[in-house]
């Protein structure tokens, strides 16, 4: 295991143990600004960890970022790690980020589905769901991005436990989802939530479960447009943007719909590189360019959140 974040390769994919070890070192090396919070345990009893970036103060407005809810989307975990490092590197140097962190806290959950992620390394690289099992049900796992209490069980989710989009027996039945719901609800002051997936090169906002536009659709549309323009300027990669249901497909019980319905006005979902040449098997050589461009889009959303308090 790599013992210092200096020797950690940000341009490689890593196992769960390596990432958790990196988190411990990272928190130790940047204890003035970063802390680690365990928000729960997974079905197989792995710790569910969140990095908190904060310059102090109590109950600051906050921004949530999660990566890896679908375990096979390895580029998202790698992008999250690079992003965490970018935040500590740029704080005090980048005026926009410094302003954001002086007023708000940022929370990043790097491995949202730890059991599934470990399984992609040990057994099945293409595993998507978590690893929960239930008596009498032959197939394993629930799609954690269909398990939220917002249109649960509706179109774009599946009641067949063998389906890759199985929504689970009830809303928030999965400990990985319940942990986030409990944490965000207890905190009570999240202003933005960004859930990162791959692939397809898209930036989207609610709703997934409905074709009807949300009440601040114009604002979200304009912000998404600004974010993908900032992203494009880095490496010339084009993203499409819009609501989830009109850009990708109708999907119910998803993270960003729950966030929006819970009062988090700036709720976005990314689908990172590529558009299908490699799909979930994006070469590690693309980690850093992907993270660099994604950072500019994230920064745009966070800056807007800072400048538009509610």
């Amino acid at each position: 295991l790599e013992r210092s974040t200096n020797s950690f390769s940000y341009s490689s994919y890593h196992t769960l143990e390596e990432i958790y070890s990196w988190i411990d070192n990272f928190v130790m090396e940047h204890s003035d600004i970063v802390s680690k919070i365990q928000i729960g345990n997974s079905f197989e009893n792995q710790s569910i960890l969140v990095l908190k970036f904060s310059t102090g103060g109590s109950r600051h407005p906050a921004i949530w970022i999660d990566t890896g809810i679908h375990s096979r989307e390895w580029i998202t975990h790698a992008t999250g790690i690079w992003t965490a490092n970018k935040i500590v590197s740029d704080y005090g140097k980048d005026r926009v980020l410094t302003d954001i962190l002086n007023a708000m806290d940022i929370f990043i959950e790097l491995v949202t589905n730890p059991d599934g992620f470990a399984f992609t390394h040990s057994m099945n690289r293409l595993w998507r769901k978590n690893k929960s099992i239930r008596p009498g049900i032959f197939c394993i796992g629930v799609d954690l991005n269909r398990n939220w209490k917002s249109g649960f069980g509706g179109n774009g989710s599946n009641s067949n436990p063998c389906s890759e989009t199985y929504h689970g027996p009830s809303p928030q039945s999965e400990p990985e989802v319940a942990a986030i719901v409990n944490f965000i609800t207890a905190h009570g002051n999240f202003k933005a939530l960004i859930s990162i997936h791959s692939y397809s090169q898209m930036l989207m906002y609610p709703y997934g479960r409905l074709l009807e536009p949300v009440s601040n659709q114009r604002e979200l549309y304009d912000l998404a447009k600004d974010a993908v323009e900032a992203l494009y300027k880095v490496h010339g990669i084009e993203y499409i943007f819009g609501s989830i249901s009109t850009t990708l497909y109708v999907a119910s019980g998803i993270t960003v719909d729950w966030a929006y319905d819970s009062g988090i006005k700036y709720a976005f979902s990314f689908e990172l590189r590529d558009t299908g040449q490699y799909g979930f098997l994006l070469p590690a050589t693309q980690i850093i360019p992907t993270a660099q461009e994604t950072w500019m889009a994230l920064r745009t959303i966070m800056e807007h959140t800072l400048n538009h308090p509610y």
Partner: protein, 93 residues
């Protein structure tokens, strides 16, 4: 580690809703045989699906019999997985 030798990712372009529905039927017919990387959504969006080597002949025949045009996006998934593992091992060294 599961082996994916010979598994392919096919990209299918449905012309209309009827063809999309035929693709959607595949998940119901073979939920553990066809893994949608990008599921059927609307005709303007391509559908990507991983098909195990053992099912390739049947699935391609199904697509062709219904007039669904497809191309091969990834010819052999295991080749990419081997490259990925080698890159990780090299990085660790």
């Amino acid at each position: 580690q599961m082996n994916f030798t010979g598994d392919q990712v096919l990209r299918v372009l449905a012309k209309d809703e009827k063809q999309l529905s035929l693709l959607g039927d595949l998940e119901g017919l073979k939920p553990q045989k066809v893994d949608f990387w990008r599921g059927p959504a609307r005709p303007s969006l391509p559908v990507d699906m991983r098909v195990p080597f053992s099912e390739l002949k049947d699935i391609k025949a199904y697509l062709e019999s219904h007039g669904l045009a497809y191309s091969i996006m990834i010819k052999d998934i295991q080749v990419l997985l081997d490259e990925e593992r080698q890159a990780m091992a090299k990085s660790r060294r």
